[in-house]
């Protein structure tokens, strides 16, 4: 198993860091997408009211 092996802590470290980086990227990308969607809807509504 993983825990008893040599260098297992290094493996744990690398997995943690990599997955953290990936999750951060996914989270930021999702947040940017949602935020932009909302901004776009708002501005399209405002323009419709103008016309």
């Amino acid at each position: 198993m993983l825990e008893s092996g040599k260098y297992a802590d290094l493996v744990l470290l690398s997995y943690t860091v990599s997955l953290l980086l990936l999750f951060a990227l996914v989270a930021v990308s999702l947040w940017q997408s949602v935020r932009n969607r909302k901004k776009l809807e708002d501005i399209e509504k405002r323009i419709k009211r103008h016309d």
């Binding site: 198993m1 993983l2 092996g5 040599k6 260098y7 297992a8 290094l10 493996v11 470290l13 690398s14 997995y15 860091v17 990599s18 980086l21 990936l22 951060a24 990227l25 996914v26 990308s29 999702l30 940017q32 997408s33 932009n36 969607r37 901004k39 776009l40 501005i43 399209e44 405002r46 323009i47 103008h50």
Partner: protein, 246 residues
């Protein structure tokens, strides 16, 4: 090829992205999860590396995607310069942060993996150093996009930067080999296909590579859609300001 160019239409791109993104996201998570757990828990330790060989399941796929992301940006930049489809330029811009994260993961896992071999947290091994240089090119690319206000000019300049940068990135790859030769000859971190990739490691590795590739595709689709929206927001804001002035 006719059918591929229809995605240059931003609306068609967004509609298609909306449809296939959830599927790709699920598929990529499955591949990655399966590959990583299989590799981490159900494969034996190697003779020289012991358990640290398991880092291969992160290091190799991320390194591959770091390079592939840049290549995709190069292709997208060329398409923008030649055919002026702004979806292409948006896609290049969207892919860059993904490439940066892939490069980071490749460098960090490479450095960690090298720790037992070199005894230090960073070895100026040719491959790791090449990724560091690639990282710097990525950062410059993203910085240039952010520094220019006009969308079209930014797209043009960053595309040319990507083109010229690719030439110098390849040149650096060879220069770094010269620079490093004489140190640790032969004992670099690069994997010998024959030596290490025995059957027992191979399948989970393939799963992880597929997982990383799908994660890349999913993220680029998501981010390109965001960029397309952002561009529309900018043009609508300009229109709004024009209406207010009128």
């Amino acid at each position: 090829m006719n059918s591929l160019w229809q995605y240059a239409n931003p609306r068609k791109f967004n509609d298609t992205a909306d449809k296939i993104l959830p599927w790709i996201a699920v598929l990529s998570t499955t591949c990655l999860f399966t590959g990583l757990t299989w590799g981490a828990f159900f494969t034996p330790p190697a003779e020289r590396f012991q358990d640290s060989v398991k880092i291969i399941y992160l290091h190799v796929p991320s390194a591959m995607m770091a390079i592939n992301a840049w290549l995709m940006m190069l292709a997208a930049s060329l398409i923008w310069l030649v055919r002026r489809h702004y979806v292409s330029a948006m896609a290049a811009r969207a892919a860059a942060p993904v490439g940066i994260v892939m490069t980071l993961i490749a460098m960090v896992t490479g450095a960690i993996w090298g720790q037992p071999t070199w005894g230090t947290w960073w070895a100026w091994d040719p491959r790791l150093t090449s990724f560091l240089i690639l990282f710097m090119f990525y950062i410059g690319y993203v910085a240039l996009w952010s520094a220019i206000e006009n969308d079209d000019i930014a797209a043009d300049l960053t595309s040319i930067l990507c083109l010229v940068g690719s030439v110098f990135a390849v040149l650096s790859r060879y220069a770094v080999n010269f620079w490093n030769q004489g140190l640790h000859q032969g004992a670099s971190l690069s994997l010998d296909r024959e030596k290490n990739v025995a059957d027992v490691y191979y399948t989970p590795l393939l799963l992880c590579i597929a997982g990383f590739a799908l994660v890349f595709i999913a993220l680029v689709l998501l981010r390109t859609r965001t960029e397309i929206h952002a561009r529309r927001i900018r043009s609508l804001q300009l229109r709004e300001r024009g209406d207010d002035n009128a």
